[in-house]
Symmetry: C2
Subunit: 578 residues, 2 copies
Amino acid sequence: MTYQAPYKDMQLLVAQAYQQHGLDKLESLEGFDTDLANAVMEEAAKFASGVLAPLNQIGDVQGCRFEEGKVITPDGWKDAYRQFSESGWIGLALPETFGGQGLPKYIAQPVNEMWLSANLAFVMFQALAQGGSEILLKFASESLQARYLPNIVSGAWSVAMALTEPNAGSDLGALTTKALAQDDGTYKIKGQKIFITYGDHDLTDNIAHLVMARTPDAPAGSRGISLFIVPKYRVNPDGSIGGFNDVCCTGIEHKMGLHGSPTCSISYGEKDECVGELVGELNQGLMAMFVLMNEARLSCGLQGVALGELGYQSALEYAKERTQGTNEKGERVAIIEHPDVKRMLLDMRSETFALRSLGYQIAAQIDLADSNQNTALHARIALLTPIFKAFATERANVMAGQVVQVFGGMGFVEETGVAQIMRDARITTIYEGTTGIQARDLLMRKVRGDQGLALKALLCEIDDQAAKVEANSALSKTAEEIRHVVVKIRSLLDKALLGQEEDSLLGVSVPFLDAMGTLCCAWQLMNTVVLADDDIDDGYYQNLIAMVQFYGAFRLPTAMAALQTVESKSLGLQEYVF
Amino acid sequence: MTYQAPYKDMQLLVAQAYQQHGLDKLESLEGFDTDLANAVMEEAAKFASGVLAPLNQIGDVQGCRFEEGKVITPDGWKDAYRQFSESGWIGLALPETFGGQGLPKYIAQPVNEMWLSANLAFVMFQALAQGGSEILLKFASESLQARYLPNIVSGAWSVAMALTEPNAGSDLGALTTKALAQDDGTYKIKGQKIFITYGDHDLTDNIAHLVMARTPDAPAGSRGISLFIVPKYRVNPDGSIGGFNDVCCTGIEHKMGLHGSPTCSISYGEKDECVGELVGELNQGLMAMFVLMNEARLSCGLQGVALGELGYQSALEYAKERTQGTNEKGERVAIIEHPDVKRMLLDMRSETFALRSLGYQIAAQIDLADSNQNTALHARIALLTPIFKAFATERANVMAGQVVQVFGGMGFVEETGVAQIMRDARITTIYEGTTGIQARDLLMRKVRGDQGLALKALLCEIDDQAAKVEANSALSKTAEEIRHVVVKIRSLLDKALLGQEEDSLLGVSVPFLDAMGTLCCAWQLMNTVVLADDDIDDGYYQNLIAMVQFYGAFRLPTAMAALQTVESKSLGLQEYVF
């Protein structure tokens, strides 16, 4: 089982997103065109297949070890990290000022997808470096930036995000880690955090922890949270590394998946010797967190795409090789000849493709929004973010299950390697905000927040395109179905979505998100065909059309079903007493 | 996390199945009434919670070991097995002639459910003993029965089923293990088998392997398979144990789940010293396998119910204890107060309840069919079997995922114990015939085989009941929805189901099975309310109604969606070229 970047798909979708959002006309992106994108992707593909993918199963089997207070990563991790950072991949989309390459998101997106497919557990430090840097760029003082950013961008130091505490998971407002102001302007940090990805490891000389904590006089709840940068080893004024900063790893979790990624419990200031510096304003930590969260959610959605792709490749290869059963002539056939196996493969193929397209479109929109104050554009990104995060990861879980199913009994045997995909995928619908939290965000903030404005605009765009292709006989059935879904959502908007009492609405929030996700995927598949040249390569184009048809026939009906549930106003749910 | 048998639900559903199928009027079941059923269930519940459940996680963590050619079960397994067999649980539903207790299926069903919830990996020998005994009772000579059955029924010896070979999984016709007739009427067996549950272990003195093999002149394919009984140690004419029979375990699988259940590779006759005896007629092995298969499929469906229940109990307990977020008054609340968490819990609750009901009904129908040649009844059981097997196990996988989701990050941590449910559940849609194979069986044999007769009869029964309760305002919405689904299936019957070309039909076979499963669950929930006294206990009855409403609102629409897919004739699937 070896991962190969789906280069043809990526190239097509990157080019489409680039064109469709007019990035070619953007001054700020001069020089960052699709030729560059293709060159970068080609290099990344080699690295992903050659260096990262071979370590994926090793990481799963060995896992990280916790010995004498230290985390030891699996064999090969250190060397791969050195190659990864030396090749400049960490700073790919970070500013050139601090040593990065300043590439736009639309190019970083396919590259990140490759890392995530090849070795999700390994590469989790990458999103942390990216998100951490963006926080520092936005909120930290120049002095902090100067001392930290060059080291983070180069990969010399890694970043850890310390949010969760045993009693404060999704509910950050409940956290209790303390920050006590010192005379020199720094803070003494004291508290216990859990579930910190790469909170400790042996890959870098230092680790910059971004820690959420409270000062003694802070308001209760989430309005009293401040953000601190807390290095494992203190950082001297000149940026060099000083003494130990009383940041102790107390253990790592024994998890169902992602064995190669250390999930640490950290004790800050056990000996009252842990010093942090404030990032941004006091009690404004949540603002920084929102920056990180959006970043992290999009990255997490991309994990769904990446695991879907990895699973699909594995299942396809196996289904072509494994013979079982016979055809009408009595000849043994590969299991891909069995219609139900083919159905599972095309389900994975079309869903992954559609989700990839959605993610690339969002990335391109973010590039556009960076130099554009258009509120509709910002609202569109905000609307699509929870859908992409939750739907891509939920579907990745379903797809990972299908991969095992295609492998049959062999899939249940760990050595085969596909069980790992399923185990790894399981956390993606939980971290960075559970599916339920994304669904609440979608309905309460993104739909109700603007009285449905952004949603209506999205529906218009989808409907307009569907109306245009309805006459195209190959796409007409799916286009028609898409328009039905749009009509249905519109009919629910005033009464069910905007008008309904909160509790009964939240009971159907995940079905609503499912419907939106399914609609968006159908739209993306249709969009791809509309934008594609019909002479790309005959078979490929025909397959794009077949995917639109398949998605319309096999997946889109579930959107209508989910909307019927939305319409039910949680019938039975509120009546039941546990 | 401790499993407690859902005694109230079980008692209700057992009594309903007993009454509804007129088992009270059956002479052959005299003395086996619901009072006895309740007494047996009460004892079983204690054993399940007290002895088996505490070993479940131990089995997962330790797993079985393979050392020096021998399989060693986890700590506590041996003692639990001794207690289990000494208490007579193995022979519960086996004939009194051979030392069993001869209990009907309708009583064995809830008892088996308890074992499967409490410790699925441990108790897999039970279904093997049951299925193996039924094969011997039906096909074996008196001499074989006399030597083997008393030992199997008492639990002194266990049973193993040796079907699969590396190149013959779902496709038994491809197997190559050889059987060579000897002058004394026995056969020399030679071949390699894999995936043999409890193929070797340290719980009993002997293991009776039922081995599928071919004689040299046997026809190719599945018509040339014969069944042999091959003990690990030879069995003397008086039933005592003789010398080693050249049955060697060559290894056990390292699996994603069911760690406590040894999945063995066995080499028969490495030294040409492996002797077997024919069971039934030459080349008729598949007939015996069909007996076993039906038995195994129902037992496997019940595993789905059992894992659903175990997961539901765990999730409910956690959701009541774990606080996170606040209510309108700003008070911290248990996460069960969040509507989306409540939705997941009620989803598990209602689905498990409905599937349990379906399984108990099938069990009662089998008891009825044992003394009844009514072809409609036999056809009904045959129709429901693949639906129950595939749908219960598919839903169990979805539910197990929901359990982890309710636990959030803690669910991903192995120590919590719920990840095990998900890992264990994963094989249930694969073994005893994959979901795709069940769906093919449903459509090609059970629906097309009698030109839709049994399906029509089922739809009539469901529709009649829905029509009757449509006026009941609490159930009316769901009843109406049920009738729509029935109408839709009827409309598809001639053209889409009976008339369609095989390949395009098989592409939508799993969606069709899904629709049937969902419809059957809605029907079972409705049926429960119809049969229940409305004064059982006020809250309980009201909850039954709420479950019908919830299922109608949240799950039944997916049946319509799946039927729309069936109607699509696999659009796009046949066009796509991999």
